[in-house]
Each structure stands twice: as structure tokens, then as C-alpha cells.
């Protein structure tokens, strides 16, 4: 009953991976080049930013919260580092990246403090900061864009340069996946994130500070958004107020497709990554197979609904069992 194959099939991630493989297979039938390793790596590279963001959002959602401000945080930090780079091209890029992560984490901490200390529902807090952060981006830049011509070559080149045949951007994603995997599965903090989401009351009994855990989760999502601020701006070589506008919902969608339960406590690094890849593959495959790109939105919407329905099936809660004969059966 608990044989290995059985246990593996219980994991929804396996199903999602199978669905993705099937999807790639279907696309390859019409356009074989799509399934070539080189192209798949390109798709992965193109999806890297979404993957990293989805990982941050996952941590927040696991604690029964939600962070709607990630895309705005990204725009703000992206603009900040782009302007810093334009004004002081001499500052080395790694320093800028660290700055971006720090600023992002600070914005996340602002959300987190409001959730932790004032007990304002996360959705309200981040709905507010969603507009505040983006507005602040406009104020910061005075509405002007920072274009390629104002960025230093190193700023643009870093994530494009390759290491072991893979672009650095992909390495960022790979490192993030590895790091989040370790954090979520192997550290007390990671496990307390799950515990808080599964059962806040029981977490208190187990000696976990629920509010503080949520606070740290928001710091992480902020930090990740800050990092992606740099990655986004240097990837698309433009920093503007409109950067990643509305992207918060794509991030959440990636998590949801990946089986992260909005009610908290359920979800995995693999799931979030696969959810993001699913969206990424659809996005890059549609133009290739000559399906009008106008189908993309409807397809991802359908995928979200399907994913939620399937996940809900798997989660059907059982009642308690009082009758001895039923318990034995």
C-alpha cells in the first residue's frame, strides 16, 4: 500500500511534471525544435525571473498570507538600481545586486511589520503597498525611463554572460531553487512556515511565534522581489514605472498551478517551480506553434482553474471516525 511508486504518484508535483512533459511533447509534434535541449534551456532562462518570484510568493502563501506588492516592489528596486547605475556607473554590479536585495527586503519588512504588529490582513496591507510602491517608483524617477543607453555595459552584461554554458540568469534561478529547497525542507524556519500554515493554534503549542514567522516570510518575498528588480531591469534593459505592472497575479498563478494552497500549509518548491515553468512554456510555445498569442491568457486562466479543481479533489477532508468497525476497515 505504501510501495514506492504509489507514494511517488501521490505527489501532485509528479503529476504536474507529467503534464508539462506532455505539453512539451504535444508542442514538439507540431514543432520538433521546441523540445531540443537548447530551446528548453532558453525557455528555462526566460522563465527564471518568474521562478524566483514564485518561490518568494510561495513562502508567504504557505503562512496563510498573500503578497500582492511583489511586482511593485520589483519595479521600485529595479528603478532604484538602474538610476544608481546610471548616476554612478563605477559602482560594481554585485554591490547593486546586494542593494536591490536589501531594499526589497526592507519593503517586504514594512509589509511584514504591519501584518505582525498591527494584525492587518495581509491582503489589505499589500493591496495598499501595491500602489504605494509603484507610485514611489514614479516619484523616484520623476516618471522618466532609464534606457539601455544610460545603463553601464556591466550592468546589462552580467546576467547574459554564460557560465558552464548556461546564462548567469539561469544560474540565479538554479541557486534560488536550491536555496529555497534547503530552507523549506531542512531548516527549522522552513518547517515552521509550513506549521504556521497548516495549523496556527498547534504552532503556538509547539512553541512557534506565528507573527514573527509571517514577518520573516514577507522579508523573504521582498528580498526576492528586490533581486528580481535588478534581474528584470537588466534583462529587458529598461526601468520604468510600468515595469511588471500586473505581474503579481502571474506570480500567484504560478504558485496556484504548482499546487500551493491559498489556505496555507500546502505546497513545495518543486510545485512552485513547475507552476512557473508551465506558464513559461505556454508563453514561449504559443508563438512557436503558430497559435495566436491572444490564446495565451485564456489558456493560463483555464490551467489555473483546472489546477485548483484538481488540487481540491486531492485535499478532500475526512470526518472523524467514531465507530470502531469503521476505523478498523
Amino acid at each position: 500500500m505504501n510501495s514506492l511508486p504509489n507514494r511517488i504518484l501521490k505527489h501532485r508535483e509528479i503529476w504536474l511534471a507529467a503534464a508539462i512533459a506532455l505539453l512539451v511533447g504535444l508542442i514538439a509534434m507540431r514543432f520538433p525544435a521546441f523540445a531540443r535541449l537548447g530551446n528548453l534551456l532558453t525557455v528555462f532562462n526566460d522563465t527564471s525571473i518568474l521562478i524566483i518570484l514564485a518561490l518568494g510568493q510561495m513562502v508567504v502563501i504557505l503562512t496563510r498570507s498573500i503578497d500582492l506588492s511583489m511586482a511593485s516592489n520589483l519595479a521600485f528596486t529595479g528603478m532604484l538600481v538602474a538610476m544608481t547605475n546610471a548616476a554612478f556607473p563605477a559602482i560594481p554590479v554585485p554591490v547593486l545586486i546586494l542593494t536591490a536585495m536589501f531594499v526589497g527586503a526592507a519593503l517586504g519588512a514594512f509589509n511584514g511589520i504591519l501584518v505582525w504588529k498591527l494584525g492587518i490582513p495581509p491582503i489589505v496591507v499589500t493591496l495598499g503597498t501595491l500602489t504605494v510602491f509603484r507610485g514611489a517608483t514614479f516619484v523616484l524617477s520623476g516618471g522618466a525611463w532609464v534606457n539601455a543607453d544610460r545603463m553601464s555595459p556591466a550592468f546589462i552584461a552580467l546576467q547574459r554572460s554564460a557560465f558552464l554554458g548556461l546564462p548567469i540568469l539561469s544560474w540565479f534561478a538554479i541557486c534560488a531553487i536550491a536555496l529555497f529547497y534547503v530552507i523549506m525542507t531542512r531548516t527549522p524556519f522552513g518547517r515552521s512556515v509550513y506549521a504556521v500554515g497548516v495549523n496556527p493554534t498547534a504552532s503556538v503549542y509547539a512553541g512557534i511565534d506565528v507573527g514573527r514567522t509571517k514577518f520573516l516570510a514577507f522579508c523573504i518575498s521582498g528580498l526576492v522581489a528586490g533581486l528580481c528588480g535588478y534581474l528584470w531591469v537588466s534583462r529587458y534593459v529598461i526601468a520604468s514605472t510600468e515595469v511588471a505592472n500586473g505581474y503579481e497575479l502571474s506570480i500567484i498563478a504560478a504558485c496556484v498551478i504548482g499546487g500551493v494552497s491559498i489556505a496555507g500549509g500546502l505546497g513545495s518548491v518543486a510545485g512552485a517551480v513547475l507552476g512557473a515553468l508551465f506558464l513559461g512554456i505556454i508563453g514561449s510555445a504559443l508563438p512557436v506553434v503558430n497559435v495566436s498569442p491572444f490564446w495565451q491568457m485564456a489558456i493560463s486562466g483555464g490551467a489555473i482553474i483546472l489546477a485548483v479543481v484538481l488540487n481540491a479533489r486531492g485535499e478532500r477532508r475526512q470526518g472523524r471516525i467514531i465507530l470502531k468497525k469503521a476505523a478498523a476497515a
Binding site: 525544435a33 516618471g143 539601455a148 529587458y236 514605472t241 515595469v243 514561449s284 498569442p293
Partner: protein, 313 residues
């Protein structure tokens, strides 16, 4: 009727979205016109994202401010008509420039250049480098942008007669959004392995396409051309991702928009088919049947002159 009692003639320059370098340059020209004419106040405004709803809210507040004229580069030719009509009903002069609105929503439209000429030029930029012919694709801005659609129509018309060896494989839309344009450019390259050139008649799209070609090491294989601001695009001429691009002078365009708005608002000129209107230092234009006028021919930038122009706009 315009309020002569007030010292200043207030002219609103409404752009598709704030922050776009092309419009910032146009604003420069607008301010030049204002100080040249004297007694003119230019309000430079636009939504943050290029939507018609955003522009409508702005038009409403401009009506309330009782500006004397609105010169708009529209995000949608139809959706803005009701709001602009209302502005005209309240005695405000309305013209469109760059990207037009339907004739009933404005008094005149100022095309930066002759539509057919632009259409032909963007193809020619690509064709010049493809003596044996080849596949080209167009990366446009928003699918509702009037000017883009008109140019693409003109380009398609010019193809069979003047460039028989050039094969236009597809038209995609990047919505003047860097991310969307980048993704569309990638899609083009992936789905058309034999592509020789990407033509982007939009300053946002052309930069995105050139960046993608640079990133994917396709310099020399795919030539990016289109309409580009020299200051934003210089690096791609330098690195060879593009051989040449074209554009008109956005400064002159903004200048002319304000100049014409002022002339109409102060009733120094009248917009009617066939009228010849002066636009100060730029010269003069003639209105066609739909009260539209075209300015000069697009100007080409390549290795020889981009350095010089990138310092101007």
C-alpha cells in the same frame, strides 16, 4: 470661445504615456514653440500606462481646467472620440498629432510624415541590406495604434511593386511595452528560423528587438530596422545589430503641434481641407480631405550620423 482675458493661452500636450523618450523630446519642441510664440503655457501630461481610459480621465480634467487647446497623441482612435468631442463642444481646440483620432474627434491631425512614405521607408531600410530578397517580420506597437496600422498598410501596399523579393512573414504586437516587445521578438526568431530582418516602426519595439538580436548573438544574421530615437538606439548601430533606422524629428513634431494648436485656438488659422498652415520655423503644411497634414520625410540614421544626432534626441 478662447478666453482672451487670460494672459496665457493654455495648450495641453497629451502623450500616449509618460516617460517615453520620444514624447519627452516632443515636449522639448513644445516648450520651444511656447517661448517662441510667447504667452503660451504648455501642460505636458499623459497616463503612466498607455491606455485610452487613462487618457480620457486626463482629457476630462483638462476640460475642467478650461484649457484652450488639447494636442493629443492617442492610444485609441475611437475610444477617445466622445471625450474629445465634448472638449470641442466646450470650445476647446483639439488636434491630434503622431497617433491620430478619428476625424470627428479632432479639428486636424498632424502626421509626422507622409504615411505612404513611412510605410515605404521602413521596408526600404530592410530591403537595402537584402539585395537578394528575404523574409522580414514587423513588430508593431499596440494593435489599435492608428499610426502604426496605417504605416503597416502602406508598407504592405508598397511590397509587391517596389520590393518583390521581400517576403513579409508576419506582424506581431508589442504594445509599446518592453517586456511584451522582447517576448514577441523572441517568438519571431524562434518561429521563423530564416528571418532576415525585424522591422519595428516603434521606438520601444525597435530597442527591444535589437537587444534580443544582440543577446542571441544573431548580429549579422538578423538586421533590426524601423523607427528609432538616435539617443536610445545608438549602441545598436554601433554593435551592428542594426544597419540603419529612420525617424522624423520629434522636437519639430512637438513644436508643430503646439504651433498649430495655438494658431487654431487664437483663430489665427482655420482647419479646413486644402488650407495651408504655417508652422513657424519648420515651414508649412497643407491639409488634405480629412484635415490631416504630413510633415517632412523621415530621416535616416546610420553609422555615419548617429553619433551626432544621439546628442540631440
Amino acid at each position: 470661445a478662447p478666453a482672451y482675458a487670460q494672459d496665457n493661452v493654455k495648450i495641453a500636450l497629451v502623450v500616449k504615456s509618460l516617460g517615453n523618450g520620444f514624447f519627452d523630446a516632443a515636449n522639448k519642441g513644445a516648450q520651444e514653440a511656447a517661448s517662441e510664440i510667447g504667452g503660451v503655457e504648455v501642460i505636458y501630461t499623459g497616463p503612466t500606462s498607455a491606455t485610452a481610459e487613462g487618457q480620457i480621465e486626463i482629457v476630462n480634467s483638462l476640460i475642467a481646467q478650461q484649457v484652450d487647446a488639447i494636442a493629443i497623441s492617442a492610444n485609441d482612435p475611437d475610444a477617445l472620440v466622445p471625450a474629445l468631442k465634448r472638449a470641442m463642444d466646450r470650445g476647446i481646440t483639439v488636434i491630434s498629432w503622431d497617433s491620430g483620432v478619428a476625424p470627428e474627434g479632432r479639428q486636424l491631425h498632424l502626421n509626422p510624415s507622409d504615411t505612404d512614405l513611412i510605410g515605404e521607408t521602413i521596408i526600404k531600410l530592410a530591403a537595402d541590406r537584402l539585395p537578394d530578397g528575404g523574409d522580414v517580420a514587423i513588430l508593431s506597437a499596440s494593435s489599435t495604434a492608428t499610426n502604426q496600422n496605417a504605416w503597416i498598410e502602406a508598407a504592405k501596399k508598397a511590397l509587391p511593386e517596389k520590393f518583390p523579393k521581400i517576403n513579409l512573414v508576419t506582424v506581431v504586437y508589442g504594445d509599446d511595452d518592453s517586456v511584451k516587445s522582447t517576448n514577441e521578438a523572441r517568438g519571431l526568431i524562434a518561429s521563423h528560423p530564416d528571418l532576415d530582418a525585424i522591422i519595428a516602426p516603434t521606438t520601444v519595439g525597435v530597442v527591444a528587438a535589437a537587444q534580443v538580436v544582440t543577446d542571441q548573438n544573431l548580429i549579422g544574421k538578423i538586421n533590426v530596422t524601423g523607427l528609432a530615437l538616435p539617443s536610445e538606439f545608438k549602441q545598436f548601430i554601433d554593435n551592428g545589430a542594426s544597419q540603419a533606422v529612420a525617424l522624423w524629428n520629434p522636437i519639430d513634431l512637438g513644436y508643430s503641434a503646439v504651433y498649430l494648436s495655438h494658431a487654431l485656438a487664437t483663430e489665427k488659422a482655420k482647419a479646413e481641407p486644402g488650407a495651408k498652415l504655417s508652422i513657424g520655423r519648420v515651414g508649412e503644411v497643407t491639409l488634405d480631405d480629412t484635415n490631416a497634414a504630413a510633415m517632412a520625410a523621415p530621416f535616416q540614421f546610420d553609422k555615419s550620423n548617429i553619433e551626432e544626432f544621439s546628442k540631440i534626441y
